[in-house]
Amino acid sequence: MSDTTAAWCADLFEGRMDPAQREEVATCLAADSALRAEVVDHLVVAQQLQILGSEDAQRFSAGVLAHLSAGRTSSRHRVLRAVRARIHPREQPVRRPRSSRRRRSASPAWLVLIGVMFVLGLTALMVANPSPPTTSELHSGSLQLLAGTAEVDGRMLTAPAVLDPQRPFRLAGRAVSERADLSAAAATIHRDAGGVWRLDAGRVEVAVRPMPSVDFTLATAHAEVRVLGTRFTLDTDADGSGLTVHEGRVGFRALASGDEWILGAGESARARAWSLIETFTAPSDPQQWHVVHGEWLQISGGRLVLGRFAPRAALADGWYGPTGLRLQRPLVPPLHLEFTVEHLIDHEDVLFALRLLGAGDGEEIGWIGLRGQQHLHCAPKGHSEPLDRLELPPRQLWQVELTADRIRIVIDGQEVLHGPHGFVLDRPLQLEVGANGKTTAPAGPWIAFDDFRLAAPVVPARP
């Protein structure tokens, strides 16, 4: 049995178990308490080892502070209330008394007055913010939030919770319905009266369980995705909607033109408000990306320069930017940047292109492109999210705190001397750029980097 148990644990910890296998294992564990205990022992050790190896204290801390900051700014203690509500579901949001001494000295009249005001306040709060749906209020087609948070009517829910998909919710985590698994960093989703799931904003990764007798459609303002049993990513913004298929086949119809394409695994398409669908497949091998000359980033002992080029023209036939940014050691004081996102491009092994504008006059400083790996995190506006799941609406000024490995790059305006072409740091750093993963010396003379160009999107012949 030991070999079997070892195989179970291997599959379980790697997330490779299909539902049938999980059911089989569940049956065995239910019948054998010793076996159950052994699997749990292994689970616990595995989890502890995971913590032992994690070096994300900064990210974790940022997550905690994001909760605290969110509660202290917009709606007062909203997140904290949500957390408390989950701990004590029946407890109403009450402010912590300033001191027990003051509480003891309060007169009965004051207590009555405070009580009346409290009830009135609670009533107003409940009218303004109705309670999130409970299990009993929901019917089939409900959505269970498995991990992360969801915002419903301005209230934060943390997993596990049950969502009513008829009401729009902002998902930052993982949820599951009877038909599909949804994962998103920040996507607004709801299910309309016709039963069609609608992605109103953001990017969501969807895994749909095959169910031939029932259609599954996910729609945006620009396109409809008809699912034939698959896994895919869909994003939408004011400009258009993009689809990338990871497994299976998906029908993609542009609402503006009525065009429909059937996309297979590895294929992507984008529907814009004003045009036909554009489809393309990026080469998965970075070596195939054509390297062109450029002076995109420069660095010498302590100085990082973001070069200038004509990104708009360049974008007409390709995407530009280095593939990674890696700092050699913590920056103290940290690097401060302020930028506006012009385009955020993600595809396959993921390239993010951020256009950097100066904080003062909005002059273009340069571009930054990052390969979206899990070790890169971003914390805009108090949310800590992996960069590869980050959604930044274009043409808005953002302040972003990036975390790379154990390194924090705090973005603000104080610690950096702004020049027309870049920033000045006080510590050397090492950059990994280009399709070939070139690195620079942390110090030394100015070094020009090659950027790379991804082949232009190819529009296939119409079927």
């Binding site: 070892a6 049956t27 957390v83 989950r86 701990i87 269970q144 596990p160 009877e178």
Partner: protein, 201 residues
């Protein structure tokens, strides 16, 4: 060995006045001080929760919630150098609530396995309120006890997240063999930790 049993006598985060100094500042509303508290205590707390929770998501959620609640109730904490234990108490209670909550929301197909694991962990949680076990040094010591190759294998898979297929290539063995080796190594670590706890007791 450097990280031997003697390391269990190492200075705990709450042992000195440092953490309480930070807490005192945080009690005055200093969020930066509280950030330092989080940075100092997070690994100990996460390790504690990881020994009791079902999945990385639950570990993260419980730990974050524990720190948020700690911040909210910081004035309830008395500066006695027991902050980490106090924090673990919050996490412990939060975890119990979470298991109860999860049980209420089960019912989806494929959930049986998670439910069984949840039940087993919840049962263990009720049985023990020993906040001193599962210390970081104990785990490190037992990890060292499986030898360098075993230690590398465990860390590469569980800490760095390398899949078994990649490890199979690196160690020139089959995926099944790597899975079996990891199983044996985890068991060794578990037995070592149990032994050490008995000695401590």
């Amino acid at each position: 060995m450097d990280d031997g049993p003697s390391m269990r006598r190492e200075r705990r985060p709450e042992a000195g006045g440092g953490i309480d100094d930070l807490i005192r500042a945080a009690q005055q509303g200093d969020l930066l001080a509280f950030e330092q508290v989080v940075l100092t205590c997070q690994r100990e707390l996460r390790l504690f929760v990881a020994a009791r929770a079902n999945g990385a998501d639950q570990v993260e959620e419980i730990c974050q919630a524990a720190f948020v609640v700690a911040w909210e109730r910081l004035n309830d904490y008395q500066l006695r150098g027991t902050f980490v234990s106090w924090l673990k108490g919050i996490a412990h209670n939060r975890l119990r609530e979470d298991f109860r909550e999860r049980r209420r929301h089960t019912g989806l197909p494929g959930d049986e396995l998670d439910q069984i694991l949840d039940d087993e962990l919840a049962e263990r949680l009720e049985a023990s309120r020993d906040f001193e076990r599962d210390r970081l040094t104990l785990l490190k010591h037992c990890l060292d006890g499986v030898g360098e190759r075993g230690r590398q294998l465990l860390l590469r898979h569980h800490a760095q997240g390398l899949p078994l297929t990649v490890l199979a290539q690196q160690f020139k063995r089959t995926r099944a063999a790597i899975g079996k080796a990891l199983f044996t190594l985890r068991r060794s670590v578990k037995e070592c930790m149990d032994r050490e706890r008995e000695v401590q007791a």
